[in-house]
C-alpha cells in the first residue's frame, strides 16, 4: 500500500470515529455505573435502564412514538409513492412547481415548521394531539418516501406497464399486478425510513405535542434538567430502533438493485 493510500484510510477512519463517537459513547455509558460519566469507566450496571423504564411516562412516550411513527410512515409512503408515480408516468404543466412542492419541506428549518404547525393546527383544533404530530411528520417524511419510490420506478421498464394494458388490463389492474409488486421493496424501504424520520423528530413534535410527548420530546424535557445517565439508556434504545429501521430501509433498496 502506498503512503497516500494509508493516509487516506487513516483520515477516513478519523472521520468515521467522529461521526460514530456520540452513538458509541451513549451506548457505553448507558451500562456504566458512574453518575457523571468519564474515564476510567466504573463497573457494568443495568441500573439506568431499570430506573428509566420504571417510569410510566417513558412507556407512554414510547407508545406515542410508535403510534405516530407507524401512522406517519404509512401516510408518507402512500403520498410519496403517488407523487413518484405521477412524476414517472405523466408530464404536465407546472410539473417543476409540483415537484418543488413535493421536495421542499426538508429545507425548511424545523423550528419554523414547528411554529407554523403550532399556529395552523391550533386553528384546526388539533394542537396537542397525536394526530397533529402525525400530520407534521407526514409532511416531513413524504419527500424521502417520494425519492425512494422514484429511484425504484426509474429501474422499471415503462414498456412493462404498457404491455399489461395491451394485454387488456385496466390501468388499475396494471398498477396492482405490475407496478406495485415491482415497487414493493421501495415501499418497505420508504416505510422504514420515514418511520425513522418520525421516530427521531422532536422539534416540531415538541412545539405541537402539548402533553402527548413522543420519546425524543420526553428526552428533551429530561435534558432541561441535568446530566442524567438515564438519557443514555433511553437514547441507546432510540439509536438501536432508528438504526435498525435505516439499515433495513437501505438493504431493501440495495438487494434488488444489485441484480
Amino acid at each position: 500500500m502506498r503512503a497516500g493510500d494509508l493516509l487516506a484510510r487513516l483520515y477516513l477512519l478519523a472521520l468515521f470515529v467522529f461521526v460514530f463517537a456520540p452513538i458509541v459513547t451513549s451506548m457505553v455509558f448507558s451500562f456504566n455505573s458512574d453518575r457523571f460519566p468519564t474515564v476510567p469507566l466504573g463497573h457494568f450496571t443495568l441500573r439506568w435502564y431499570e430506573t428509566a423504564f420504571a417510569r410510566p411516562e417513558v412507556w407512554t412516550a414510547f407508545r406515542n412514538s410508535l403510534i405516530v411513527a407507524v401512522s406517519a410512515a404509512a401516510l408518507s409512503t402512500a403520498l410519496g409513492f403517488a407523487t413518484a408515480y405521477t412524476d414517472f408516468r405523466y408530464g404536465f404543466r407546472f410539473k417543476q412547481a409540483y415537484l418543488a412542492l413535493a421536495l421542499l419541506p426538508p429545507t425548511i428549518p424545523l423550528v419554523i415548521m414547528g411554529l407554523a404547525m403550532l399556529a395552523w393546527l391550533g386553528r384546526l383544533g388539533l394542537s396537542g394531539t397525536l394526530t397533529g404530530i402525525v400530520i407534521a411528520h407526514t409532511v416531513m417524511g413524504a419527500p424521502f418516501a417520494m425519492a425512494i419510490c422514484r429511484l425504484r420506478l426509474q429501474q422499471m421498464d415503462p414498456a412493462l406497464e404498457a404491455a399489461a394494458w395491451n394485454l387488456g388490463a385496466s390501468p388499475w389492474r396494471a398498477m396492482g399486478t405490475v407496478v406495485l409488486p415491482f415497487c414493493l421493496p421501495a415501499l418497505i424501504s420508504a416505510f422504514c425510513l420515514t418511520a425513522a424520520v418520525s421516530f427521531d423528530e422532536f422539534i416540531v413534535a415538541w412545539f405541537v405535542s402539548g402533553l402527548n410527548r413522543t420519546v425524543p420530546v420526553a428526552i428533551l424535557e429530561i435534558l432541561q434538567g441535568n446530566v442524567d445517565p438515564q438519557i443514555n439508556a433511553i437514547g441507546t434504545v432510540v439509536f438501536l430502533t432508528s438504526m435498525t429501521l435505516v439499515v433495513v430501509a437501505q438493504l431493501m433498496l440495495l438487494r434488488r438493485t444489485a441484480r
Binding site: 403520498l79 407554523a116 435534558l223
Partner: protein, 280 residues
Amino acid sequence: MSKRFDPYPHVWRLPLLIWQGLFFVGPLLLMVALSFWVVRNYRMEPAFVLDNWERMLGREVFWNAYGVTFRRAAVAAALASLIAFPASFALAFRVSDAARRWAIFFLIVPFFTSYLVRVYAWQVLLAESGPINAVLGFGGLGPFTMLNSAFGAMVGYLTLVLPLVVILQTFSLAAVDRTLIEAAWNLGASPRATLFRVIIPAAKVGLILGFVFAFILSFGDFVSPFYLGGSKPPTLSILIIDTTKSGQQWPRAAVVAVMMILTLFAVASAAVGAAYGRRR
C-alpha cells in the same frame, strides 16, 4: 376516444397537492400572515400592522442573533466542506466501489439517527470532567472548557452535517469522468493543477450542494447552539423558541421565521446560480 373523465391520473397526482397545500403551504402562509397580526391581552387578533416587524427589526438583539447565526452557519458549512473533502476524495478515487458503497451506507445511518441523543452524548464527552478532558489530563493537558462555547456549537453542527456533505461530495467526485483526469495527466498537469483545474470544476455542483445543505441545516438548527453552545449569544432559532414559549408573542417569532426563510432562499438561489450558471 371518448372524452369521459378518467379519475386514474388524478388519484395519484392530487393527494400531494391537497396534503402539502393543507399542511405545508397553509401553515407557512399563516405564519407569514401572523407576522402582521396584533397581540391584545395575550390573545392574537388578525390585523395588518407593521408593528411586529418594526419592533423585531429595530432591536439590536435580533441583529446580533442574525449575525451570529449567519456567521456560524457559514463557518460550519465551510469547515464541513473542507473536512469532508479529503474523505470524499479518498472514497471517490482511492477505495473500491464496494468499499465506497458501504461507506455511504454507514454515513446514511447516522444522518437519520437521533440527532438530539447524539448532541447529548457530546455534552457528556466534552464536559469539564468528561472523558476527553480525562484523556487529555493523562497527558498533562487541560482541562479545557469546550461546552457552552462557539467550539461546542461547532462540534454539534459538524455532527449534524458532515455525513450529508461527505455523501454529496463523494457522489459528485465519483461521477467525474476519469478520462478527463487521465487527459490532464497526459498533458503534463501537476497533481495540484489536476485537482484545482479539472476535478474540482467538474464536481462543482455536488461541492456547492454540500455547502448549501450544510448552511441550511446549521442556520436553522436549535439543538447545537442551545445544548453545546450555551445559547449565549442566542441564535435565531433560539430567539424563535424563546419568543414563542414565553407568552404568546407568536407574531414576533413569525417575523424572525420569515427573515430566516428569506435568507435561506437568497443563499440557495445564489448557490444554484453558482452551481449551474456560468456554464456553456
